[in-house]
């Protein structure tokens, strides 16, 4: 159990760039089109997760045995990795919404009235 953080780091490292691509794309579209596309962008993130599992099953399936021999199922590793990824995405959304709320022109205008 004490090794789970290290194992997660090893597990997440190769899939980080792919998922980061989905995260940044989602943030870009939400930043451009506003909060109304947020729901679709969550769906977009889930497409990212599905494609990650699909790609990993072709390119890195052999290394699954390392994590199993460490005592962890692959399902559990993916759940932990995607939970961390989703948490990062939600934090980025909160920062984006907070920044757009604080620095939006209408906000300054309203405040001036």
């Amino acid at each position: 159990m004490s090794h789970i953080r290290t194992l997660l780091k090893y597990f997440y490292k190769p899939i980080l760039p792919w998922n980061l691509g989905f995260t940044l794309t989602a943030i870009f579209f939400i930043g451009t089109y506003g909060a109304r596309v947020t729901g679709f962008m969550f769906f977009w993130k889930f497409i990212g997760y599905a494609s990650t599992i699909f790609l990993q099953s072709y390119t890195a399936k052999n290394v699954y045995m390392y994590y199993r021999n460490a005592g962890y199922s692959i399902k559990r590793m993916y759940i932990y990795a995607f939970a961390i990824d989703m948490a990062i995405f939600i934090i980025m959304l909160i920062v984006l919404f907070t920044a757009s709320h604080l620095f939006a022109p209408h906000h300054v205008h309203t405040k001036g009235r």
Binding site: H3, T6, L7, Y10, K13, P14, A60, N62, V63, Y64, M65, Y66, R68, N69, A70, G71, Y72, S73
Partner: protein
């Protein structure tokens, strides 16, 4: 003292029954050699015990307690035929997670580890990587070790060096080992089981390997 039991295992691919009447047991302190022709289901049996292959029917237990996934809580470790270490991470870091702290000193003294500890899996030769992967599994935390072709892809002298390590490991663990290098299996094992027509045959006399058509004759 733990006992691993695999019973009533049935496996079929495309309607062809690969395993149909399989039962074996392995105690801690024992090395079981598993022999059989190509495609008879040796690797499949090990994967079923480990929990990574779904069988039509299976009963795997340790001390009569049903085990759903053998790898959960480090009960069983498995050396697959393929390389399994992630690339891009130093071997010493990977080893520290798999190797049992009680066995660490023995593992760290191995020349193959000392020569390659600071390298990654991609920086060592195929044979060296195979040795390291095998040693990590043998020195892992698991109570039971499944070795799928540990003598393949390594030189004869290294295979000879493995055997005392497997024997030493068997003082604390139960080991099931399979390989086509049957003479190594016969030498290292306490008991030999032959997989023949989907069934396990417990071999008492090595001459039975000829009788069941696994060997043409017993010689080395």
């Amino acid at each position: 003292m733990y006992t691993l039991k695999a019973d009533s295992i049935e496996l079929a691919f495309d309607g062809r029954k690969i395993l149909r009447d399989v039962h074996l047991s392995c105690k801690q302190g024992e090395v079981i050699g598993l022999l059989g022709r190509n495609g008879c289901g040796k690797s499949s049996l090990l994967k079923i015990i480990f929990g990574t292959l779904t069988a039509a029917h299976r009963y795997v237990s340790i001390n009569d307690q049903f085990i759903h996934k053998g790898y959960h809580d480090n009960r069983i470790a498995y050396l697959p035929q393929h390389n399994y270490l992630p690339t891009g991470i130093r071997l010493d870091k990977l080893a520290k997670i798999l190797v049992d702290p009680f066995s660490w000193d023995d593992f760290a003294e191995l020349p193959i580890y000392q020569q390659n500890a600071n390298k990654t899996a991609g920086q060592v030769s195929g044979g060296e990587l195979r040795q390291l992967e095998t040693m990590m599994i043998i020195h892992s935390r698991a109570d039971f070790i499944l070795l799928d072709e540990p003598f393949t892809h390594i030189s004869p002298i290294q295979a000879d060096a493995f055997k005392p390590i497997i024997r030493a490991c068997a003082k604390r663990k139960g080991i099931i080992v399979t390989d086509h290098q049957y003479y190594n299996i016969l030498e290292v094992s306490d008991k030999v089981i032959l997989l023949n027509n989907g069934c396990t045959k417990h071999i008492i006399d090595n001459e039975e390997l000829v009788t069941y058509g696994y060997l043409s004759s017993i010689n080395r």
